[in-house]
């Protein structure tokens, strides 16, 4: 999976770093802790900028190369900050044959972004996601915690206007 590095300046707070320390203290000695640390770090910071990866490397003694390797391998880890409104379009097979492609195109057209990007004002981010398992509702998108099913491209505009 190709990943782009962010150009957004990192603004971590000491409180966030404290939380990160607690996570490392919790998992640090377990075998195979790195993935769990990265998962929790992403919860804390919302994404995994190189600055956070460096902190984890220094605090755990695991090389930055290895951490960066893991962070870029899994699609769940994001090197870019997400928008305040995170849109995920399911591109599982069931959604695809029911027209998830045109829904995605419509969203990107309205917001002026490509899948995987965040809009210029930082408000919306759009991602293609693997099967959410709600195939009965295909095609499905999620916006933050809200789920919209059986969507038609024509309905996208009104839904986005709510956010």
């Amino acid at each position: 999976m190709k990943k782009k590095m962010t150009t957004v300046t990192f603004t971590g707070t000491p409180e966030q770093e404290q939380k990160l320390d607690a996570v490392i203290a919790k998992y640090g000695k377990d075998e195979g802790a790195i993935m769990r640390i990265l998962q929790d770090a992403q919860e804390i910071y919302g994404y995994l900028p190189i600055e956070v990866q460096k902190m984890i490397s220094i605090k755990t003694g695991v090389s930055l190369a290895e951490i960066y390797g893991v962070a870029t391998f899994y699609s769940q880890f994001s090197l870019n900050p997400k928008g305040q409104v995170a849109i995920s379009v399911c591109l599982g097979t069931a959604c695809y044959v029911k027209g998830a492609g045109p829904v995605m195109e419509k969203i990107c057209e309205i917001l002026g972004v490509q899948p995987g990007e965040t809009s210029a004002d930082g408000k919306f981010s759009v991602d293609a996601t693997r099967c959410l398992g709600a195939c009965g509702l295909a095609p499905v998108i999620t916006i933050n915690e809200d789920v919209y099913g059986k969507l038609k491209p024509a309905e996208v505009k009104d839904i986005l206007a709510k956010y």
């Binding site: 999976m1 075998e31 195979g32 802790a33 790195i34 993935m35 769990r36 990265l38 998962q39 290895e66 390797g69 893991v70 391998f73 899994y74 699609s75 769940q76 880890f77 591109l91 599982g92 097979t93 069931a94 695809y96 044959v97 029911k98 045109p102 996601t129 693997r130 099967c131 959410l132 398992g133 709600a134 195939c135 009965g136 509702l137 295909a138 499905v140 789920v147 099913g149 491209p153 024509a154």
Partner: protein, 622 residues
């Protein structure tokens, strides 16, 4: 917990089971309302419906007479949210929040069934009262899904009421580890996650490996897009997986287990964690289970979105916190697996069969299925099908039964074209093979595979070249990059398919596709690469004429590949309302008011905005 305590809980909870089998039981909670709390129904508000139901029951003053339970998936996702009222077993579908007061007052208080919320049989047109009477359920045989939609997955006692943990008790007190392995071997159970390797043999290899430390791993990294049976089992019956893993631990001599679950399944993760905690509290996990010297405990590890982690060696690397890259086998995980120790890895659905086999015996299990594929298989029906959802049928059931009878056929009067099984590793089964009995070997013989059981139905408007391209986009994205044939080969395949769907293909490209598929299959290390060409090969095998039409005639017969479409206006239908001309983003439509318009195909970018705008159906694509 002692075995006698297990029996006591079962006895205490028996009325719960009885009322849901339609028996009138003398007890305070005279009505049980089961509401689907699976991911599909939760997305359409079922949790709020359950809350609202509790409030309405309070208002009606019958809160203590009615038990409201959020269950796992009932299977009929197309009609969600689903609600069943026991003891009558009345089945309400597509329930909305505003329907709740009526259900409470009319049905639960006054005893009158709310007819308008009943399911209507698509053939007879009559209302169906119970779920079991629907054509969707009649031909099913639920083994792995037996408790999904039948019990409260967050209450271990309801699982025990349905013979839960009795198989574990039997295994560790009445059987030797070798007895357990022999039973699983004799049952003919094969891995439900993809390859179909005999489960008993896997256990035997791990049991034969000598080591102080062994692991039992459950593969819940359900990556096949369109398959959701593992998630539903974890959501609806998590204890079945825990119990089976403990049995496996006893059989191979392991005391620790890991369940690797996709992070995209938050409900499944939460219920599984709760189930593990409850099992620990009751001493069903932990030290000296049932007072024996057998100890077993387990943990959850979350995946982070990598399809390749469904491959067993990649999954183990991921549990170890590394990049999920596959390793060459041998050594097999049964010899050298997690943290270098002997390990067995089975899929969620495979485990969901184990306790039943131990309890009901080999003869019961082998009475279902075909000669070399025993038992049942769960399929996730999706795509162009009326009854989207989860179905479980005996192996050997024909595709026709699954699609036409259980699935209710193709909506909108369209024609069935193909069914895709096995996800990105599988292939498309064309309409003329619809009477093929589905089992592991038949699917391989017709160029597809069982995979985890995703079954996507496609109709005449789906382009097979486009579907092959869709799967290749998936594999290109998910190839871990370790082996060149897979990393670069799938990319080249995708480029060829793009070239063809954009109308730039040459006949030689079809030969190139075949040649490249052959290289990728033979030179890749793991299952992902070895099977990645299957969607291309199977569509080439059965729908070669569609490829040829794209290349030679520059035409997409299904009308799906945009670049090959031409848009035109049928003059006799056009009213000259100008709506399309105003909508066209590139000004390709011209014409006078109240006169037929025309499209300049040289300018047209084939966006389809005009079709969406036209109220008279005057614009044609093809």
């Amino acid at each position: 917990m002692k075995i006698s305590e297990l029996a006591a809980i079962k006895e205490k909870m028996e009325s719960v089971v009885a009322i849901r089998q339609g028996e009138k039981v003398e007890q305070k909670e005279r009505i049980h309302v089961l509401i689907c709390g699976g991911t599909g129904c939760t997305s359409s508000n079922s949790v709020k419906i359950a809350e609202s139901m509790k409030n309405e029951l309070e208002k009606a003053g019958i809160a203590d007479e009615v038990k409201v339970v959020l269950t796992g998936c009932f299977g009929l996702c197309a009609l969600g949210p689903i609600m069943i009222v026991y003891p009558e077993g009345i089945f309400y579908s597509a329930v909305k929040l505003e329907d709740v007061p009526e259900i409470v007052n009319e049905h639960l208080v006054n005893g009158n069934v709310v007819e308008r919320l009943l399911y209507t049989d698509e053939v007879t047109g009559k209302h169906v009262h119970s779920l079991m009477e629907t054509r969707f359920y009649k031909s099913q045989k639920r083994v792995a899904l037996r408790n999904c939609g039948a019990i409260d997955p967050e209450n271990v006692e309801e699982y025990i009421a349905k013979d839960g943990y009795a198989a574990l008790a039997k295994a560790i007190t009445e059987m030797t580890p070798q007895d357990v392995i022999d039973t699983i071997k004799a049952s003919g159970l094969r891995g439900r996650g993809g390859g179909g390797f005999p489960t008993g043999n896997k256990w035997q290899f791990a049991a034969n490996s000598v080591s102080d430390k062994k692991y039992v791993v459950c593969n819940g990294d359900e990556g096949d897009p369109g398959a959701f049976m593992d998630r539903s089992i974890l959501e609806g019956d998590p204890h079945a997986v825990i119990e089976a893993m403990a049995i496996a631990g006893y059989a191979i001599g392991a005391d620790e287990g890991y369940v690797y679950v996709r992070a995209e399944y938050p409900i499944a993760v939460r219920r599984l964690q709760k189930a593990i905690d409850q099992a620990r509290e009751r001493g069903l996990l932990g030290k000296n289970i049932f007072g024996t010297d057998f100890s077993f405990d387990m943990n959850i590890r979350l995946g982070a979105g990598a399809f390749v982690c469904g491959e067993e060696t990649a999954l183990l690397a991921s549990i170890e916190g590394k990049r999920g890259e596959p390793k060459p086998r041998p050594p097999f995980p049964a010899v050298k697996g997690l943290f270098g120790q002997p390990t067995i890895i089975n899929n969620v659905e495979t485990y969901a069969n184990v306790a039943q086999i131990i309890l009901k015996g080999v003869d019961w299990f082998t009475s279902m299925g075909t000669e070399r594929s025993k038992g049942t298989k769960v399929f996730a029906l999706g795509g162009k099908i009326t009854n989207t959802g989860l179905v479980e049928v005996p192996m050997g059931t024909t595709l026709r039964t699954v699609i036409e009878e259980i699935g209710g056929g193709i909506p909108g009067g369209k024609k069935f074209k193909a069914a895709q099984t096995g996800g990105p590793s599988g292939g498309c089964i064309p309409a003329h093979l619809i009477d093929t009995p589905i089992d592991y070997d038949n699917l391989i013989a017709i160029g597809s595979m069982m995979g985890s059981g995703g079954l996507i139905v496609m109709d005449e408007t789906d382009c097979m070249v486009d579907i092959a391209k869709f799967f290749l986009e998936f594999t290109v994205d998910e190839s871990c990059g370790k082996c060149t044939p897979c990393r670069t080969g799938t990319m080249r395949l995708l480029e060829l398919l793009e070239k063809i769907t954009e109308g730039n293909g040459e006949m030689e490209d079809i030969d190139r596709l075949e040649e490249l598929c052959d290289y990728i299959k033979s030179a890749s290390l793991c299952g992902l690469g070895q099977t990645a060409p299957n969607p291309v090969l199977s569509t080439l095998r059965y729908f070669r004429d569609e490829y040829v039409a794209h290349v030679k005639d520059k035409r997409c017969p299904a009308g799906a590949c945009k670049r090959l479409l031409t848009f035109s206006i049928e003059a006799d239908k056009c009213k000259g309302c100008t709506a399309c001309a105003r909508k066209c983003p590139v000004g390709a439509i011209s014409g006078k008011v109240r006169e037929a318009h025309t499209i300049d195909t040289a300018k047209c970018i084939k966006c389809g905005a005009c079709i969406a705008t036209c109220k008279f159906g005057a614009i044609k694509k093809g």
